[in-house]
Amino acid sequence: MTVSPSATPLLTVENLRVRFPSRTGYTEAVRGVSFTVGREKLGIVGESGSGKSVTGRSLLRLVAPPGEVTADRIEFDGTDLLHASERKMREIRGQRISMVMQDPKFSLNPVMTVGRQIAEAYRVHTKASRSEARRRTLDMLGAVRIRDPERVFDLYPHEVSGGMGQRIMIAMMLIPDPDLLIADEPTSALDVTVQMQVLAIMDELCSSRGMGLIFISHDLNLVASFCDRILIMYAGRVVESCRAGELHAAKHPYTRGLLDSLPRLDDDRAELPVLTRDPAWAAEGGR
């Protein structure tokens, strides 16, 4: 069963804008994005540089200066995230809202074993004993389909494969049992079967515990089959949004272009079409 967006959303974002100063003025990374997330799976797709990650990071106030974030409203379960104290934000981060970052190897400490990193992340938020944290960590590694959790617990980040690194990050973010998970390309390095099993874990948390999920991905087919709703971003704006099942009937020429550029198992083409961009797509208010 899929959960439909409930009446009071978990998260409300209105007119989010993020810009970074550059030598020639400003890079407008996000330009007036509004959306809500209920106890559902919201997908965000769009080309590289369209502002997906910056959107995700600004929700947790993780955009560092000189980046500037403004919005009319960012509200999470009754808390105003724009004006909350830094102390309040630390409470929310990791405990109520978790984020799986796009680059697992960047986010992991290279000189600490992966098991210890997860266990300590758990202990920060709970008063669990060391052995309890270790047990929970091993369970979680098993849940994300890591074979031989005992061995992997003691490996350093450079000793795990690309896909293992991603699952380690996911385990670390799920262990505090968040209400909202922001997952930025969380499964791009996983093989398709493991990917599906890891998605099933998130799906289960959404349907059984009512966790909300923001799922950022390049993989249009995956998002269409996994999420409930989809936002399509281009040049810092949401150019189209739809129910996930209707992505393949999307109307915007940009969305169509993205869909067309995918190689397909059931279609043998000599050359893949690439996007030809129309300046009108980037215009504010334009469609």
């Binding site: 769009g46 080309e47 590289s48 540089g49 680059d103 190897k105 960047f106 074979r147 061995r151 000793e159 795990v160 494969s161 690309g162 896909g163 293992m164 699952r167 791009s188 390095a189 996983l190 093989d191 398709v192 079967t193 493991v194 990917q195 599906m196 099993q197 998605l199 099933a200 799906d203 390049h218 993989d219 249009l220 087919n221 995956l222 269409a224 089959s225 996994f226 272009g257 993205l258 550029s261 995918l262 190689p263 397909r264 198992l265 059931d266 043998d268 083409r269 050359e271 893949l272 079409p273 690439v274 996007l275």
Partner: protein, 262 residues
């Protein structure tokens, strides 16, 4: 039968010692013909990158028989090997030196191999991967993901190798840039008669790029098949069928039905 461009026979790779030994690759055998493009797919951690790394001499702890163009390779790779065989790495962020310009990144292999004419070569290779001269003096952080991957491909191409080992060359890229890079790799292969091994999780990418493929699970090749069979879903092994099913998109019931293959 034509002689194989790449021959891998009974390849075994282990990491660690004693009780902590991991048998990452076991008994892997396959051959790739000259001008052929061969896909390597399979479970995460099944040893795909390790096979490519052993082939490129980045991992000395292997046994078995590895040959390039009929010549058996020893433990050490010499310059002549890298002139003929180059690898493009899985991680587009980590594989370019962050404080070197594109120009320096490309000039280095040319100097090491004493090829001369660096200036013209760099210019031509950048053009070949679709990067204009304006990119030549940029640093990696001034490039987009797709542009960075083009530089990584240019660095591999600049020595005019016969063989490219491509480890997930597009998994970090968006679908439109992926299309550009795949078209580019396909064109380069056709124009220069290159031989590829391509590692990818995306079966549609493998179908688009390759003639044949091997499916790996837990360090072993479980099945070899041609792309036509892949497209038609005609796999012999249950593990491969599971992969095919998973690549049709997310389905909770299907996910729950998945088995572990030992």
């Amino acid at each position: 039968m034509t002689q194989a461009m790449i021959g891998i026979e009974d390849l075994d790779v282990t990491f660690g010692y004693g009780a902590a030994t991991v048998h990452a690759v076991q008994n892997v055998t396959f051959q790739v013909k000259p001008g052929e493009s061969f896909g390597l797919v399979g479970e995460s951690g099944s040893g795909k990158s390790t096979v490519l790394r052993a082939m490129s001499g980045l991992n000395p702890d292997w046994s078995g028989n590895v040959s390039l163009d009929g010549q058996t390779l020893g433990r050490q790779r010499d310059k002549a090997f890298y002139k003929r065989c180059q690898m493009v790495f899985q991680d587009p962020y980590g594989s370019l030196h962050p404080r070197h310009t594109v120009d320096r990144i490309l000039a280095e292999p040319v100097a090491i191999h004493g090829l001369g004419d660096a200036d013209k070569r760099i210019d031509r290779t950048l053009r070949e991967v679709g990067l204009g001269p304006q990119f030549r003096f940029r640093f990696p952080h001034q490039l987009s993901g797709g542009q960075r991957q083009r530089v990584a491909i240019a660095r591999a191409l600049i020595l005019e190798p016969r063989v490219l080992l491509l480890d997930e060359p597009t998994s970090a890229l968006d679908v439109s840039v992926q299309a550009e890079i795949l078209n580019l790799l396909k064109r380069l292969r056709a124009e220069h008669g290159l031989t590829y091994i391509l590692v990818s999780h995306n079966l549609a990418v493998v179908a688009y790029m390759c003639d044949r493929l091997a499916v790996m699970n837990r360090g072993r090749v479980v099945e070899e098949l041609d792309v036509e069979s892949l497209r038609r879903g005609q796999a012999q092994q249950d593990y491969t069928r599971q992969l095919l099913l998973a690549s049709q998109g997310y389905d909770r019931a299907v996910a729950d039905s998945f088995k572990d293959f030992a």
